[in-house]
Amino acid sequence: MLSVKGIPAGAALGLVMTALFLFAAVFAPVIAPYGMGEIVGGVWEPASENFWLGTDNLGRDLLSRMIYGARTTILIAALATALSFGLGSVLGFLAAVVGGWLDTGLSRFVDLLMAIPTLIFGLVVLSVLPSTVLTLILVMGILDATRVYRLARAVAADINVMDFVEAAKLRGEGSGWIIFREILPNALSPLVSELGLRFIYAVLFLSALSFLGLGVQPPEADWGGMVKENKEGIVFGIPAALIPAAAISVLAISVNLVADWILNRTSSLKGGRGHA
């Protein structure tokens, strides 16, 4: 059973850190000491009593921007993950259940999309699309849906040949019932642990795009973009750019720890090789 004692130290740490980031993201306007775009001091001031993390390249409070940045980064990554999961799992289930030319067509198209490195194809598409948050979510979500599709199709193909699905088909249920009432509940646990990994990937992908200047556009704050804004300071020994970069790493590691733990739990539930 799920008890607080049973959570290993790593996963507990991951849960606490993830919760902290989420808290910062949700209550950003309440806990941020200054406004997001407010110029409150000199350029690249060191950490002090007034500015806990110092100021950035324009004299804005770095801590406040970090908190607002958590909001932007986590929100966009979460929406992209939701899109990739919705799209990928529904199409994957559909391919496994319907089979035939639909399965072949979808699978070959996904293979083709995956034959191009995601970052490269993302850059190609973003060269013609307008730089808006909606475009980012769509591009990230659709490109990442290929990975979810692969997993969902493999899992659903296994479940689809089980007796209870056979029984449902003989009862005369339609594809919709088979997918949402028979397959989805049984495919949930492998998909949920994948969810964490896809979210990390979305955070890293978004940060890389913003760092390259092609993601979230200023004056909006997001962590990858903040690294870009402050990178000139590094050469003068000013670590402002390292702080958002470190935040991305900590968030990713935390979610990774939680996802690992969920993966171990679910595989041990199935009597697999995992050890809780």
Partner: protein
């Protein structure tokens, strides 16, 4: 479907599933036939990818000229750009013109600088391959040695450290690793008289070899760190897989020494998966190069691509995107062929 998946994650599993043989006919050289088949699939895939990359720049409901010039463009400028991009023709005509150009080595002209793309690209491709080569030169032997160590001291602290490192490295963005290196090795610090390496990797034609090596030291180190942990973990998994097979147990039971087992039984069987791991990670390295080049302002293909994406220079983006995809696909094909060559079981389809 009988055809195999051409991309990375499927490559390892392909190794265990020999393609179905043509019934009745005994080919002269099965290995050659398999390789030719794999290369043929790769070429087909490359054509499909070129369609996708071309289509990827046509997905706007409006037209490319409008999105390049923005809302404030004059009608005259729009008409000129449409004319130049050939937008007055249907998409498939433009695709075949583009493809014909690419096949004859003509990548078109950059919109922003009016330069010939192929001649601007060639030295940058050389720079990128130079950087990737040295990163691979360091990371591959290191990853294999560390992977072997992790297997030798399985579940010990070496092993734990390596899996911890692997977890960290899948979570760290490339720019964090890159700027940490800059911060500690290219910026004056208390513990060194002067910075060891330049923060910006300038290279130029005719640069002496050693100063060129010094210039790429930090980006190559960053790239190494980006791929190292992943490669180590995959090497570890490949060797562990071999070490758990029945013939290794037999060798242990008949009293062979640990070293003889690894040399005579485990290593020859682990070559194929390790080569596979290495090639897949080289493909990964080629992509990782994009962000690393921007961090260190290194004049390679990645930086060229990123610059022209923000300038919305579509012909350049198409050309560079296609080259990156081609390199990536080639690496995957080489990985598959290496698996076929190194594993005799794949040569004799049952």
């Amino acid at each position: 479907m009988a055809e195999q998946n051409a991309i990375s994650s499927a490559a390892l599993s392909d190794a265990s599933a020999p393609p179905a043989a043509d019934a009745g006919r005994r080919p002269a050289s099965p290995i050659l036939r398999l390789i030719l088949k794999r290369v043929g699939q790769g070429i087909l895939l490359l054509f499909a990818v070129s369609v996708l990359i071309f289509a990827g720049t046509q997905i706007l409901p409006g037209d490319v000229a409008q999105s390049i010039l923005g809302q404030s463009a004059t009608p005259q400028a729009l008409a000129n750009l449409r004319e130049e991009l050939g937008l007055n023709q249907p998409a498939y005509v433009r695709y075949f013109q583009w493809l014909g150009g690419v096949l004859t080595g003509d990548l078109g002209t950059a919109l922003s600088s009016r330069q010939d793309i192929a001649s601007a690209l060639l030295p940058r491709l050389g720079n990128t391959l130079f950087l990737a080569f040295w990163a691979a030169f360091v990371s591959i032997p290191l990853a294999i040695i560390l992977g072997l160590l992790a297997v030798r001291y399985r579940n010990g602290w070496v092993d734990k450290a390596i899996s911890g490192l692997a977890l960290a490295s899948t979570s760290l963005p490339e720019f964090f690793i890159g700027y940490l290196l800059v911060f500690f090795f290219a910026v004056p610090q208390a513990w060194m008289a002067m910075p060891w390496f330049p923060a910006i990797s300038t290279v130029y034609d005719g640069m002496p070899f050693w100063s060129r090596m010094q210039a790429i030291a930090l980006p190559a180190a960053a790239l190494t760190l980006v791929v190292l942990a992943h490669m180590m973990r995959m090497t570890r998994a490949a060797i562990l897989n071999v070490m758990q097979s029945a013939y290794i147990e037999t060798a242990e039971l008949k009293g062979l020494s640990q070293f003889t087992i690894i040399r005579r039984h485990a290593f020859p069987n682990a070559i194929a998966p390790i080569v596979n791991v290495v090639m897949l990670n080289l493909a990964f390295l080629v992509v990782g190069v994009v962000v690393i080049e921007v961090i260190f302002v290194y004049p390679g293909m990645g930086q060229y691509l990123v610059d022209h994406v923000s300038k919305r220079d579509v012909p350049v983006v198409q050309a560079v995107g296609l080259i990156f995809a081609a390199v990536y696909i080639t690496m995957n094909i080489v990985a598959d062929i290496a698996a076929i060559v190194a594993n005799p079981r794949l040569r004799h389809p049952r």
